[in-house]
């Protein structure tokens, strides 16, 4: 085997460094990617969010309009209430 000149040796080492860096970077990207995929697909320990999701994954065929906003915020009415004069009420809202 012929001996390499210093220039040839330096080029060879540089090529080897590039290949090593590329392999390491590719491996790192792969590890991170697999980790993200695993985290997204593993339910983990029970938490309120995880359980809440469990209870809402199926198609609802029974609920009516009163609960059809399941999962959304509490809904305000289309019109805000206005003030009436004292003594003019027709029904009472109170504790019972």
């Amino acid at each position: 085997m012929d001996s390499l000149t210093p220039t040839q040796r330096d080029r060879g080492l540089e090529r080897l460094r590039r290949l090593t860096f590329g392999a390491a970077a590719g491996g790192l990207i792969g590890v991170v990617g697999v980790g993200i995929a695993a985290a997204a697909s593993y339910a983990g320990t029970p938490s309120s969010n995880a359980t809440a999701q469990t209870t809402t994954t199926t198609t609802d065929t029974t609920t009516n309009s009163s609960s059809s906003t399941s999962g959304s915020d509490l809904q305000s009415g289309p019109q805000a209430p206005t003030t009436g004069s004292s003594g003019s009420g027709t029904v009472t809202s109170g504790g019972s």
Partner: protein
């Protein structure tokens, strides 16, 4: 404002049905009665033959349930999610242990200490730790363990869980009853009040339905106090000043804090909320009582009109609640 009214008792509380037309009142009343009978059969906690009683007796097993009970449990779970568990349907055992173990009309105002801790023996809960500590021993298990499959209409409760749908269940019943009444009267305006939880449907009277906001739903609607005019949606009031009893001198009420398993002891005694439905109004008003000092910020973030009464009588108005000093109607 001339409206037709019919009142009676059901679900352990007062029922009022109002219609904007006399000739629609009977049909509306019949529709409401039918809904309330269905509700009673589906999720009364005090009927041995209700679906809810059977479900509570079968914790640990998957049970197929009726569409109405599925709807009610779904509504209760939604309430728990939206309030971070402040409104939790798994308080059934806690409220029973606290003494509210029958229709309220049959509960004695005073009585001995709740029986369940005595049955478990005083060794586990030594007397020196106090009554509150004993009650806390039956910690609310939490709504997260409930498994509801709405498509198959099945539910599974963990062992030890007893559901109480009293809070959201009554408000849901008001919404369902108002919807049924509206259909019965052919689109005219109706209002249904179940113990002060109010659902409105159809065309309201001019200016909206006039509602007196009080601490006790038994207050005369034409009495003095804040009156608001509401054209649609729902109004609910939660209060610790009603449905009270005592055991061994300890004053108790019906709103349970799931964090402590005990009746709430926060700064607000009464909260009224207006929302798109009676159910949403009730969720917010109940959660506000439970959340205590955090209620004002939380209600403000919800954007719902609300009125809060502190234990000393100080009143707070939140969001687009109408100015009580400005009479517009």
């Amino acid at each position: 404002m001339a409206v037709a009214l019919k009142s009676w008792k059901a679900l352990g509380t007062s029922v009022h049905v109002l219609s904007t037309h006399d000739d629609g009142l009977d049909a509306a009343t019949t529709a409401v009665r039918d809904v309330l009978e269905d509700v009673d059969e589906a999720y009364s906690r005090f009927r041995a033959d209700s679906e809810l009683t059977r479900l509570n007796a079968n914790a640990g097993r998957t049970i197929r349930i009726s569409p109405l009970l599925a709807t009610a449990i779904d509504a209760a779970l939604r309430a728990a999610r939206l309030t971070d568990g402040a409104v939790d349907p798994t308080i059934g055992r806690a409220i029973r242990v606290a003494g509210y173990d029958d229709d309220f009309s049959r509960i004695s105002a005073e009585g001995p200490h709740p029986a369940l801790p005595r049955e478990r023996g005083r060794e586990a809960f030594p007397p020196e730790r106090g009554r509150a500590m004993k009650l806390r021993a039956w910690r609310v298990p939490g709504w997260q363990g409930i498994r509801l499959d709405r498509r198959l209409r099945t539910v599974w409760l963990p062992h030890g869980v007893e559901l109480d749908l009293g809070s959201t269940g009554k408000a849901l019943a008001a919404d369902l009853a108002a919807t049924a009444a509206l259909a019965a009267v052919g689109g005219r305006g109706v209002l249904v009040s179940l113990g002060g939880d109010i659902a409105i449907a159809g065309e309201p009277p001019s200016g909206g339905w006039r509602i007196l906001v009080a601490e006790d739903s038994r207050a005369r609607p034409d009495g003095d106090g804040d009156v608001i005019c509401v054209p649609s949606g729902g109004v609910a009031t939660s209060s610790t000043t009603v449905r009270r009893w005592s055991r061994d001198g300890l004053v108790l009420h019906h709103i349970i804090d799931p964090q402590t398993s005990l009746p709430t002891s926060g700064p607000f005694r009464t909260v009224t909320v207006v929302a798109a439905t009676c159910l949403d109004a009730n969720i917010a008003s109940t959660a506000a009582i439970v959340r205590g000092e955090a209620a004002i910020d939380w209600l403000s973030s919800c954007g719902l009109p609300a009125r809060l009464v502190e234990n000393d009588g100080t009143i707070h108005y939140i969001g687009p609640w109408p100015d009580p000093t400005s009479v517009a109607a």
